[in-house]
């Protein structure tokens, strides 16, 4: 079973309240739900939609066909009608948007009138529409009523009742007036398991908090703001200090300051904000200060498409900051990995005293995923080599930049030992004092860059799915995980031996992770949400393998698996 429901309308019409009730209803019933949010950069108006996909197997991508289209405005009936599946149904309020039809898959239901009659309030339109959609799926109503009860409990019993009545009225209206039997049937669940519905942003924030985040500083920027908001809303429980900065320059410098003093610190931004952080990134590299930076990508250049998605900042984060210095780059493909990857990000930052960048994007950050369970067992906290007074037999002899194993110098936290700490953004000696010596410069560059090799050994391999031999490989990274996996499944169902190679740990790249000799015989197709195929270039250079085709999308919207499959040239 695989059903998609799109709710379209203007910003501010309550699209999300419909999608979230529907989603939660089915997650409770043990289904897998994925919600893609597509919205314009406007607070009110414009054309927006949420697309809820419900399936009995895990789904983490958008479908291009919609089975139920709920139109809250006229625009939706025009713009979105083409994505209706052959047996799909449009639900719309014929009274309100003056659109009439007798076609069997266009079902008019007076949302507004029903809401006013039942509850004397137009706001209840959303609950009427929710009830109607549930009836179309031939699903029982009681789980919806339970979700409404939970959702509005805090607003009092009257609000709960009004919403429940409205949902019931919408449900009954469809059951009474639908001429044929519903086209889809969602069987009710046998067991009720505890699944979770959460966005990429929430997963990233949770991952950071579970990894011992103590200080967060950031500046609002879509699509990263939800991370700050989530941390802010739970800061008290997790004992975190959050400071909103006056700009991204201040945000990352505060992070470096806090981290220098020993707190696990993080910031999150998008590409434009990360531009402002480039100078400080280099500072973290030179002073060897841990820092975790989440970059939730959106389409550029410049302000670009603020509320849409792209994967075009890979080259940027890989090269940002002046001078050569080590860094690591991770890019989760699905929320189940996030806890592990965030803990890895903090551990690598601390152990290698280097900046670590975690790449998300609007599609990943804003979409809701169903998660079976979050595995806190994957979280370890390794603060790296930090010396205390017990470790220092002669504190006055301590040197901050003494080259240790893999170029890592044991650090002390300022003010917490008897030793004195010098950190310098200029080239410096082992003591941390400024120097112009060519010899020392050479030593220090080698010491710092040695950490890059250490990091390379820590980076995990890509996910290869399914295992075994293939004739065709779809190569991807980050947020395209779900959709590439789905495309691979489709291809295999059609008898094409396809395989996904998906990277979520990108840099420093380790070419030994894949069998280059075997891959030479296989057709490699890169799938990326950007114009040039940034990862494909990087991959080719690092492995010596040719990428035979690039499927690229840069219109600000996520891929669907059909789109990928259709674009594959030469499937033989």
């Amino acid at each position: 079973m695989d059903i998609s429901i799109r709710i379209g309308g203007e910003a501010g019409q309550g699209i999300q309240s419909i999608s979230s009730i529907i989603a939660r209803t089915f997650v409770r019933q043990d289904y897998y739900v994925f919600i893609n949010q597509d919205f314009a950069s406007r607070i009110r108006g414009g054309h927006n939609f949420d697309q809820v996909r419900i399936s009995n197997i895990p789904v983490q991508a958008v479908d291009d066909k919609v089975h139920i289209l709920i139109a809250l405005d006229e625009e939706t009936t025009r713009q979105d009608i083409d994505c209706l599946a052959d047996n799909g149904v449009l639900l719309f309020d014929g009274d309100a948007i003056g659109f009439t039809t007798d076609s069997s898959n266009r079902f008019s239901i007076p949302f507004g009138k029903i809401a006013s009659e039942v509850s004397k309030s137009k706001i209840m339109i959303n609950s009427v529409a929710t009830g109607a959609a549930i009836a179309l799926m031939d699903f029982e109503l009681s789980p919806v009523l339970d979700c409404l009860q939970e959702q509005f409990r805090q607003k009092g019993s009257e609000t709960v009742e009004k919403n429940q009545k409205s949902a019931t009225a919408g449900y009954d209206f469809v059951r009474r007036n639908l001429k044929e039997k519903p086209h889809f049937r969602v069987p009710s669940a046998k067991s009720v398991r505890q699944k979770m519905l959460l966005t990429g942003s929430q997963a990233l924030a949770l991952g950071a908090m579970a990894s011992g985040l103590k200080f967060y500083s950031g500046y609002p920027m879509s699509p990263s703001t939800a991370i700050m908001e989530f941390v802010s809303s739970r800061a008290d429980q997790y004992n975190i200090v959050l400071e909103q900065a006056e700009d991204e320059i201040a945000a990352i410098n505060m992070v470096i300051g806090a981290s220098f003093a020993g707190a696990r610190a993080m910031t999150a931004t998008s590409g434009g904000g990360f531009c402002l952080m480039a100078e400080a990134l280099s500072l973290a590299g030179m002073t060897e200060t841990p820092a975790v930076i989440i970059v939730a990508q959106r389409p550029g250049p410049s302000t670009g498409l603020p509320t849409r998605t792209e994967q075009a900042d890979l080259n940027f984060v890989m090269h940002a900051g002046h001078g050569d210095f080590p860094r690591a780059i991770l890019a989760p493909g699905h929320p189940e990995q996030v806890l592990y990857l965030m803990s890895k990000a903090f551990n690598l930052a601390d152990r290698y005293q280097s900046p670590v960048i975690v790449l998300g994007d609007q599609h990943f950050n804003d979409s809701y995923f169903t998660v079976d369970e979050l595995d806190l067992g994957g979280i370890t906290i390794d603060r790296g080599h930090i010396l205390t007074d017990q470790d220092l037999s002669a504190p006055h002899e301590y040197k901050r930049y003494t080259p240790g194993e893999s170029g890592i110098s044991p650090r002390i936290l300022p003010g917490l030992t008897k030793a004195v700490l010098y950190a310098d953004s200029d080239e410096h000696t082992e003591e941390g004092h400024i120097t112009e010596s060519a010899t020392v410069r050479d030593q220090m560059m080698r010491k710092r860059m040695q950490k890059l090799e250490g990091l390379r050994q820590e980076i995990g391999p890509p996910e290869i799915y399914p295992a075994g031999e293939a004739q065709l490989v779809l190569l991807g990274w980050g947020s395209t995980h779900g959709v590439i996996k789905e495309a691979v499944d489709r291809l295999n169902q059609n008898g094409i031996a396809a395989q996904m190679i998906h990277y979520s740990e990108l840099f420093p790249f380790n070419p030994r992770h894949i069998g280059t000799a075997e891959l030479r015989k296989v057709r490699i197709i890169a799938v990326e949400n950007n114009y040039t195929g940034q990862f494909a270039d990087f991959f080719s250079k690092a492995t010596g393998l040719a990428v035979d085709q690039r499927i690229l999308k840069y219109d600000g919207r996520p891929f669907t698996s059909r789109e990928i499959v259709d674009q594959i040239e030469d499937k033989s």
């Binding site: 501010g12 609002p220 700050m228 802010s232 909103q244």
Partner: protein, 282 residues
Amino acid sequence: MDKLTDKYLRKRKIPSTACSGCGLGQAHKAMVVAIDELGFDFYDIIWGTSIGCAGRQTFATWKGDNFAGTHGRVYAIARGLRLAIPVEKKLVLTVGDGDAFGIGFNHLLHAARSNAQMTVLVCDNLGYQSTGGQYGWTTPAGVKTDSSPYGMFEPNWVQTEMDILNVLKAAGATFLARHVSMDGRPLVESCKKALQNNGFSLVHCVFPCITNFGKNALGSRNTVNMFNWIKNRAAPLGEEKEDTLWRTGIYHDAINTRPEFSQLMRDKVSEIQRRYQDEGSH
């Protein structure tokens, strides 16, 4: 403002993309009325906008030349423009509180220092509203936002003892005023004065954001309540009460008293050119 709309604004952009009930339109309109009353035509003015509601919602509404800058940089862009456009053209910028007093503050101070001609209308929705409602540098004490769940407890820039307008005055601005968007005539008069200054003018105008500030601070999106909430906390300078947050009126009027940035530059250039000519003729 139908007649004025025809005269100065692009039809396709009116009504703007702001939420219904948003007070931004009042501030925007006041500036257009001021422009009209001073007899400017749309080609006399180049209109720049920033990022955030104030910029986004006024962008490309102007019939004449327009530009949109990146977040906080529009003052630096304007200084560059100022040097290259004909002297008689005027620059008007509609920007937000986060843009001017946060991320762009350094550039704003340098625009004031150099006294570059620009009329900056800071349309203040009391925080970061286009990103969903986080606190900013003018968010009143105690107000809850998504990033200040315990209420705004840090000092802000509009406290009497540390007023941003005093900072800008010390930095060299030659015209400064503060209003709330429902001020009507006094707001228009301040905009007119600002426009008549061949130098750096800034009008700080607080307006009601229904959608996010209203929801966070007042717990509802009721337009009337939100308007009154702001109106009741504003009073003309000298008539302030204990709970006044915004003292309205002209804070600093030194219009046309200091040389303007691009004029200074032009004078210097011709002086140097003259020197070379003199040397050449020897």
